[in-house]
């Protein structure tokens, strides 16, 4: 369950969002996305016609508040025993679509030899991890439906370490609110602890039996069939446990933070 603190933790969400947008603006490829930052269009419906920028800001603020409220509702609805449906190998979507805020040719190429996973925040053991150590832990796999915030879905086959096993191994404070992720492609996101501990939440190291390919997030991706695609970070470089809201790349621009399905 999400406790009732996060809203209080973010009293000045609007100004934080503004800052984030300034920082992020150069990274946003599609100008249509930026259009939202200033304007709201309502086409033939005249209910908001003649709005000034101030009124747009107020509408944006109100919508953000409702989105935060929806985070709480989703935390409350979330059932740690509810499992996402699983599928047979024959139902895999081939090829599984590549999706990121950049084209596939820009996906980071990471050299395993030089790679370490950083672990920080509210954990007992902050020692960095090598890929081999993760591969030596108990492995599990799943064939589940990846649902994108855009609406499309695709069935994929991921394998790796159950994330709850990993959190136990590093001595994470499982009473903390958030687990955050920083990625090699500049992406970042964060999730609630109940989802982090869900039995289908996987620190994925493979895709369809092969080492996770570059386009799907080498060296590792957090795979959660209980959350939308943008909540599943790829190319993870650092994991941290915290009680202060870490936000996320898309979440800071307006996507719902909980993003659960």
């Amino acid at each position: 369950m999400l406790r009732s603190k996060p809203v209080a933790d973010r009293p000045d969400a609007a100004s934080i969002l503004k800052e984030a947008r300034k920082v992020l603006a150069p990274h946003i490829g599609q100008t249509s996305r930026r259009a939202f930052l200033r304007t709201l269009t309502l086409g033939g419906v005249a209910m908001l016609s003649g709005c000034s920028l101030d009124e747009d800001d107020q509408v944006e603020h109100a919508l953000s508040m409702i989105s935060r409220f929806n985070d709480h509702v989703q935390g409350w609805i979330f059932d740690r025993n509810a499992l996402a449906p699983t599928y047979s190998q024959s139902m895999l979507t081939r090829p599984f679509p590549f999706n990121a805020f950049y084209g596939v040719e820009k996906a980071p190429a990471i050299d395993e030899a030089g790679y370490t996973l950083e672990v920080s925040g509210l954990v007992a053991d902050k020692r960095p991890w090598r890929l081999g150590e993760l591969r030596a832990m108990a492995q599990t796999d799943q064939i589940t439906r990846h649902i994108c915030v855009e609406g499309w879905s695709a069935i994929g086959h991921w394998g790796g370490v159950r994330f709850s096993d990993f959190l136990m191994r590093v001595g994470a404070d499982t009473g903390a609110k958030y687990v955050g992720f920083k990625c090699a492609d500049g992406y970042y996101t964060s999730i609630d602890m109940p989802t982090a501990l869900h039995s289908q939440t996987l620190l994925a190291l493979t895709y369809d039996g092969q080492v996770l390919p570059r386009e799907y997030g080498f060296p590792m991706k957090l795979r959660m069939p209980t959350k939308l695609g943008y909540k599943n970070p790829k190319h993870i470089q650092a994991i941290f446990v915290t009680n202060s809201y870490p936000g996320g790349y898309w979440e800071d621009q307006g996507y719902n933070w909980f993003g659960g399905s």
Partner: protein
């Protein structure tokens, strides 16, 4: 009222002091119109992000500016749609209005009234009395909105509402159901607006109650 004394005394058992539509009905009607407008126009923008037919909705007709904005509108509007819808259904059911206004209803009755309407013989002299076509159309709108909310719940929380997901045939089936139900509702609204244009005093009675 004075213009229809005979029909009023014949068909209206409702002690509303002359109101065709009680205040709660008018309020929930207009809130529903607002909610449906928000949900439809933001929903079109969400559909456009990953269309499954060979067309997209023109950007100018949509609400939200970009996908993230449309999603914010959609998941805010849902509270108005559901909260107001539950209020409407509760009051409609417990006041007895639902049964008084919408039943009896039969396929023969609907076809008979359609036939009358096509020949220009369907009387509108008593606005308290819904003909069989109106009854069918308004009940359809209620059921269609229930289907929209149910399929919407599956799209929003397909894992948490697993039973509902299976009943609707899975996530991808729920997407199609949601879309078709939207299209049917838009069709209803289109016919509804034409009818209001043909009988403008129905608009006044939905605003003033009389």
């Amino acid at each position: 009222m004075s213009s229809f004394p005979a029909t009023v005394s014949r068909t209206d058992p409702e002690p509303h002091g002359g109101a065709i539509h009680p205040r709660w009905l008018r309020l929930t009607h207009w809130l529903n119109a607002l909610a449906v407008t928000i949900m439809t126009t933001s929903g079109w923008r969400i559909y456009d992000a990953a269309p499954f037919f060979d067309f997209t909705f023109p950007r100018g007709m949509t609400l939200g500016g970009w996908l993230g904005g449309a999603l914010q509108w959609h998941f805010a509007g849902m509270w108005l749609l559901v909260g107001n819808g539950l209020l409407y259904l509760t009051l409609n059911l417990f006041s007895g209005r639902l049964f008084r206004r919408f039943f009896p209803l039969s396929p023969q009755g609907v076809l008979g009234d359609v036939w009358k309407a096509l020949r220009g013989r369907l009387a509108h002299d008593d606005p308290r009395h819904y003909n069989q076509v109106q009854r069918a159309a308004y009940l359809f709108a209620m059921l269609d909105l229930i289907v929209l909310v149910a399929s919407g719940l599956v799209l929003w929380k397909s894992v948490q509402f697993g039973l509902l997901r299976e009943l609707l045939g899975g996530y991808e089936a729920a997407r199609r159901i949601h879309f078709v139900a939207m299209a049917l509702l838009v069709g209803f609204v289109g016919v509804h607006l034409v009818m209001v244009a043909l009988v403008p005093r129905t608009l006044l009675s939905m605003i003033r109650g009389r």
